[in-house]
Amino acid sequence: MMQIENLERVYHLGKANVAALKGVSFNIEDGEFVAIMGPSGSGKSTLMHILGCLDRPTQGRYYLEGHDISKLSDNQLAEIRNKNIGFVFQQFNLLPRMNSLHNVEIPLIYRHTRRSTRLEKAKKALERVGLGERLHHKPSEVSGGEKQRVAIARALINDPSLILADEPTGNLDTRTGNEIMKIFHNLNQQGHTIIVVTHENEIARQARRVIRLRDGLMVGDEVIGSAV
């Protein structure tokens, strides 16, 4: 359960202030599949960073599972990111020198999980996204779609309740993008809350709810019947 109340985020650029979010409020229930849409610069990524506990709001409240995020320390936020949130980025954000297994196990390292357990879990997560054959490939040795699957496996490794994806299909062709969305669908069916930022109506239509932003404000929030 996520509650957003009057969320504002102002960036200070020298003397100029850029308001990326100007008061956004909504709730998201556990198990929802939400798409966030809006033109470039409307504040989608800014919102995702706050929802993902990577950033704090300038004003307003964000309650995640009842915790007021703005009251938590950096280390407590790190722990929430580690245990409750899985991130998927447009640029994949894998570590180039490590193979799939080692990329996927990283969140477990920061939970002090034993190595053998880590590798076992990483293997399972990679199998879950259909990459059981690519365990020892480095990011440079796999395709874009496969990279994104590695990233999803990494996001899944701690079995987080919330998965945030900021334009996960932005660097992929339509077919591969649809495959990635299928994975999110499966995860949603398994009970994960999914929030996906996207430009494409095609992608957004696969969600059950679409939140629209423009210029830092929420301009739409509609429930659309489950697609596919």
Partner: protein, 403 residues
């Protein structure tokens, strides 16, 4: 977790091998310099100390006219006061002095058949052998009987014996000695062992005659070149010097009229010199370690900037500040301790090479190795701290969007 950080550090250092090596170079040179300089210093010191110890045991030289060292002339009075009897007084009044003998010397020329060889002739007593730890390799040294009868015998230094006799057995041969416008026939009763030259002169080219023979048959003056004394033990060496000094300053009424030089004092001077040298060179080595540390800090800052995105990713995945801090600190420590190890090996090697050239024993004190390694770790910690702190405190969002 620490092990993971260590693995990350190793793999990131491996990814940039040349850069890793170059950034360690300062530490390598610094540590290598510390190890080799300290080792060379103590090896050389042991060598010189050993040479001085080989000069005799607890020897104290007493010479007339300290002013002579500064170019002054001996006053007649001082010379007159340096008589053989003075040795007996010193012996009686200085309980820490075990032996004391007068020594008198001049140059002369030996002739045997058609060979003529110049040499320094020393008039001395049997204790000379004990004081200088200097023994005959053939025959005997001057004994009490020679002294009492002022017998016409001579003991030759090893090289002098070779020069005069050229392979022939010198024992029992009679040689002609021209000295002080007199001529004596002397019987060779002994040849001394090889001693080699050092800064105190070369024993091997000298000849030794009984003190009484010298004073009665060679020189009519009673003026002594120097007294050779021996303290009862190394521990009593200082006291012996003090006792002699006290007696002479009272007896001769002037401290400038004599000079006392003990083995102990020479050793002290050498220790002081090497200490000063060690401190100076150690300082230079320390500076190069410091420079090495700055090199490490530089490369760590580069590494942190280069891996800004990695830091963002790790933070997004749940790394806390301490995790990031550890990762970069351990990388800096790995860098510096690796440099320290390589430096130790190189320093050791350098010390070994120089020791074998210098002909002394290789001394690498565990203390200097521990010091150098400890210092390089400290340098890594100190200079790694700021880059690691910088990495740990990056904003995750900004780090993630770093191009």
């Amino acid at each position: 977790m620490l092990f993971e950080s260590f693995k990350i550090a190793i793999s990131s250092l491996q990814a940039n091998k040349l850069r890793t090596f170059l950034s360690m170079l300062g530490i390598i040179i610094g540590v290598g310099a510390v190890i080799s300089i300290v080792s060379i210093g103590s090896g050389a010191q042991m060598e010189v100390t050993g040479q001085i110890a080989g000069l005799g045991s607890n020897v104290i030289n007493i010479m007339p006219g300290g002013a002579r060292m500064t170019g002054g002339q001996l006053t007649a009075r001082t010379a007159d006061n340096f008589t053989p009897e003075l040795a007996d007084y010193i012996h009686m009044l200085s309980p820490s002095v075990q032996n004391i003998i007068p020594q008198i010397q001049d140059s002369g020329a030996f002739t045997y058949r058609d060979v003529r060889v110049q040499a320094t002739i020393i008039g001395t007593k049997p204790a000379f052998q004990e004081i200088n730890l200097y023994n005959p390799s053939a025959g005997r040294f001057i004994n009490q009987g020679d002294l009492e009868t002022a017998s016409q015998v001579v003991v030759l230094g090893s090289r002098l014996a070779r020069n005069i006799f050229d392979g022939e057995d010198p024992l029992g041969k009679r040689v002609r000695l021209e000295i002080n416008r007199r001529v004596l026939l002397l019987t060779v009763v002994g040849v001394m062992e090889e001693r080699g030259g050092n800064f105190m002169g070369n024993f091997d080219t000298q000849a030794y005659v009984p003190f009484s023979t010298y004073t009665q048959k060679i020189s009519s003056t009673q003026n002594i070149s120097q007294f050779l004394a021996q303290a009862r033990s190394a521990d009593e060496s200082r006291e012996a010097v003090a006792q002699i000094d006290y007696f002479l300053s009272t007896y001769l009424e002037d401290e400038d009229n004599y000079m006392i030089l003990s083995q102990e004092q020479i050793l002290d001077v050498i220790h002081q010199v090497t200490r000063t040298l060690n401190i100076m060179l150690g300082g230079i080595a320390g500076i190069s370690l410091l420079v090495g540390g700055i090199g490490i800090m530089n490369i760590m800052l580069v590494s942190v900037t280069e891996r800004t995105r990695e830091i963002g990713i790790r933070k997004a995945l749940g790394a806390k500040k301490a995790h990031i801090m550890n990762q970069f600190l351990i990388e800096a420590l790995t860098l510096s301790s690796l440099g320290g190890l390589v430096g130790t090996l190189l320093g050791w090697l350098g010390a070994f090479v120089i020791a074998s050239f210098g002909g002394w024993a290789l001394v690498v004190s565990p203390g200097s190795v521990a010091l150098a390694l400890g210092f390089s770790l400290l340098v890594g910690l100190f200079f790694g701290l700021y880059p690691a702190y910088k990495a740990a405190n990056m904003d995750p969002v900004i780090a993630l969007s770093y191009e």
